[in-house]
Each structure stands twice: as C-alpha cells, then as structure tokens.
Amino acid sequence: MTSTESLLDRRQMAYIAAQASDARVNVELETEGMTLNIGPQHPATHGTLRIIARLDGEQVVWAEPSCGYMHRGYEKLTEVRTYPQVTALINRIDWLGSFANEVPFILAAEKLMGIEAPPRAQWIRTILFELSRIANVSLFLGDLGVQLGAVTPVFMAFRDREYVLNLIEGATGGRFHPNFDRIGGLKDDLPAGFIDETRVVMKKLRNFCDEIENLLFGNEIFQSRTRGIGVIPKDIALQYGLSGANLRASGVDWDLRRDQRLPMAWDKIDWKVWTHPDGDSFARCWIRLQEVRESTRIVDQLLDGIPSGPVMAKVPRIIKVPEGEAWVSTENPLGEMGYYVVSKGELGPFRTKIRSASFNNISIVPWVLKGVYVPDIITILASLYFILGDIDR
C-alpha cells in the first residue's frame, strides 16, 4: 500500500511539475487568452453540457461546466407522485442504467416500511442491477473510442449492448425504462429461458471486453492519450465526493456493493473490487472495463444460485410508507446513487433528495481541467463518464 502511495505521489508531482513548467512558458510568451465555448450542443458532451474554457493557446487556464440544460426537477416531481409513480420517474435519471436507479429508492422505501423483499426477488434484482451496469458501462467503453477519435468501438458497444437490452426487455418489458422494481419485491418473475440466454450473452460480453481491450486499451496511441492525463489524487476525489470507478481509480478501495449491508445478493457470491493507484484517465477507463468483466462473472454466479420462491413480499395494495427518514445508496454504474427519502406517512414521499453520481463526479471538472490541453478536456470528460440526466436530474 505504501509503495503504491509513494508511486502515486511521484506521478502527481511529475504531473504538477510538467503543468507548472508549461504555464511558465506561457507567461513568458504573453499570449492573449481566448474563451472557447464547448457545448451545449457538442459531440463530446453526450447530452447538453456546456463547458466554458478560457484558453491560452490550446491550454486551459480556467474551465467551468454549465449544466441545467436538462434539468427536469425530479426532486420537486417526486413530491406530487405516489411511490409506484416515482419508480417510473426515476428510471429516467441515468437512462443508460435505469434499473439500477430504481433499486436504492425502493430499498429506502422498504427500509422505512420495515419489510424486505423475498430472497428470489433480491437475487433477480441483483442480476438486473448488474445487467444494467453492463449495458451502461459497455456503452461508455464504446463512446470512449469516439471521444478519442476511434469510430469503431462505439458500434461494437452498441452491437453487444443490444443483447443485454434484449435480456432486460424480455424480463421487464422495457428496454430503457424497466419500471420493474416494486416495494416488497418485483413486478413479475423472470420469463422462461432467461437464465440460458443470459449465460450466452455474458459470454458475448466478455468477448466484447476482450475486443475493446485489444482495439483500444492496448493501443499505444490510446495509452499516450490517457496516461497521466487528468490525475485526481485520493483526498481531492474524496472531498469532491467522487464515487464509483472514478474513486476506485484514485486508489480508494470502496465499493458500496461490498461495504454496506443491503438486502441484495452481492454478499452471497464471490467477486472482486478493482482499484487502480494512478488516478488518471486511463485508470478510470481501465477500472470500468474490469468492472464490466466482473459484472458478467457476478451475473453468471447469481444465475447459478437463484433461490426459488415468491418474488413479492406481503404488502398492502395501496402503499403508505410510515413516517420517517431513510438514506439508501447503491453502487450504480456511474457511482454512488442514493435517495434520502422523507416520508410523512402519505402515499408519496414528502421530500426526496436524489444524490446522483454524475453531479459530484462532474463537479470536479473545474479543478481537474486546469492546465490541460483542449484535446485532454475531451479525454478527461469522457473518462469521468457522466450522463446528463444524472447531473441535472
């Protein structure tokens, strides 16, 4: 641990020194600054994020993301909706990993009601959760290529994500917005044939990961573009509340799937949390690649051990959640996603604070973009991985 930490420090020191020397050269040259407005409509922002950057030549002096182009006011909307309606709504926060959005909210409501889903429901939830992680992050891996100029990976990602979406659609009825999770369990059981199909798809996904690794991660150009770019040290990452792969890439061994007790099936199987000491863009991307692989393994193990039984606990037909407050967060594809639910014993929540991963992840952008070059803005944004719906909510 200590050796890697000192390694980390050396890397950071070298990085900072390089930035400082560049800055000094620019002071000597006395060039005039320019403001570049990246977005809101820009191919690199997958969504409508706008980044205002003061440039000196091609070097960023100051950058500030400006979000809100996709603000939908979910926290306000949840206040006028009942619990089942909120589930349908929060599907749309991180639209690439929708099922994973439902789980923490449902868990929070279940916590307030003091009930727990039956084991079979927990296992199926975990399977679908990991499937949505795979669907989400595999698209990230493809998109990463596009951001760096390689057009092919994104098509491979879309090709193989399709299989996962088909699985999710087959089980839940919705490709993007499953709305399958219910307080007390699941809407329905899995359709016949799901397990065998999933096994085949998981093999395909592992193959996809190998392809991406060969095509992109092993590529020397890719490595030279991402290594040492956008280094985020551990304590800065924690201060800004980075989570998920972004945090683990900075060397923090923390995965909410492992490190908290949730009524889910993760603790019943054998899997591994990946971390990387570097904290640069490459580390973040690499962690995500490994996590997709790990997720396919998790799903495989879960398929082996689904217990039989009901998928719905005994809950009243009209759900009223008792008064109280609950916080539940899970390790979503983008990072920690949590809901702080305040209930007043009514049909719907009194207030829901949605703590989405991307909001925190992207709030570090002004810090991390200082001193980088314009092409690195794109690399860093891509590696931080955000989804606009998840920032603006």
């Binding site: 089942p84 309606q85 659609e169 087959g170 899995l190 016949a192 392809e211 092993g218 217990p307």
Partner: protein, 163 residues
Amino acid sequence: MPKLPGLVKGLGVTLNTLVRTTTKGSNTVQYPHEKETPPIRARGVIALREDNCTSCMLCARSCPDWCIYIEGHKELAPPRRAGGKPRQVNKLDRFDIDYALCMYCGICVEVCPFDALFWSPEYEYSEPHIADLLHDKAKLGEWMETVPEAPALEAGAEKKGKK
C-alpha cells in the same frame, strides 16, 4: 509468447470483424424489410378490453402523466337472475390514452382490478400528427388482437404469471 504491439492487435480486431461480417452476416436488421419480434412482455402499446372496464377511474388516477381520460355514465342493466332487480352498471363513454404523453410505465395495466388493460408488444403506430397519437377506445380495442399470452416463467418461480 512475444507481445504484439497494441497497434497491430487493434488492426486485427477490425479485420476480424470485417471477415466475420462478410462471411456470417451483420448484426443489424434491415428494418422495414425484416422485423425483429419483440419479447412477449415488451411494453409496446396498451390494449383495452372494453367489456371488462367498469370505468372505476383507477388507471386514470394512478397515471403519473395524466394521459388517460375516462368518461362514463351509469345505466341500468337487465338483472342477472330472472326476477332480480335491474343492476346499475357503469357504461364507458370515452377511454382515451394520449400516447404523446404516455411514458409507458405500465402502472395503469398493473392497477386495473378487472383485467381490462393489457400490454401488447406492437410498436408500429407512429403518426405524422401528434394529435393522432390520442387513441380512443375503439383503437385501443383493436390492439387486443395483438396481445400475446403471458410467457412461461423461469424455473423456481412460485406463481403463474398474470399477464
């Protein structure tokens, strides 16, 4: 094994895909000419079995988007048993779903206590005019033909699937 440079490996991946696509065919579906069958549970369009609807308003009230419009009136129906009193039943006058607003959450289908609403995987009903996306009860009734049987459940499931 000597390590191949990543640049060469990358070229190998694309060439491999090229060969696979030319020999084994592509992964895309030429949509208007060939169509994929959506899964049985796919939430394509909502079908209405009018006979079952009692205009109880549950679906309209639980719709998060407020996109279901129901109007109905009460009328007298002939008694069920001979010599009984005439029954008072709800007659459905209007049942509209505005698919321009609908977000396909399926809550209405779930809450319906009388099995009047069903999901159909049919998806080809886009319209050039947004107003045409308001399906009235006749059109919703037509979708009933496309509603499939509920799928069999995976091993270990306890109850039979409802719909």
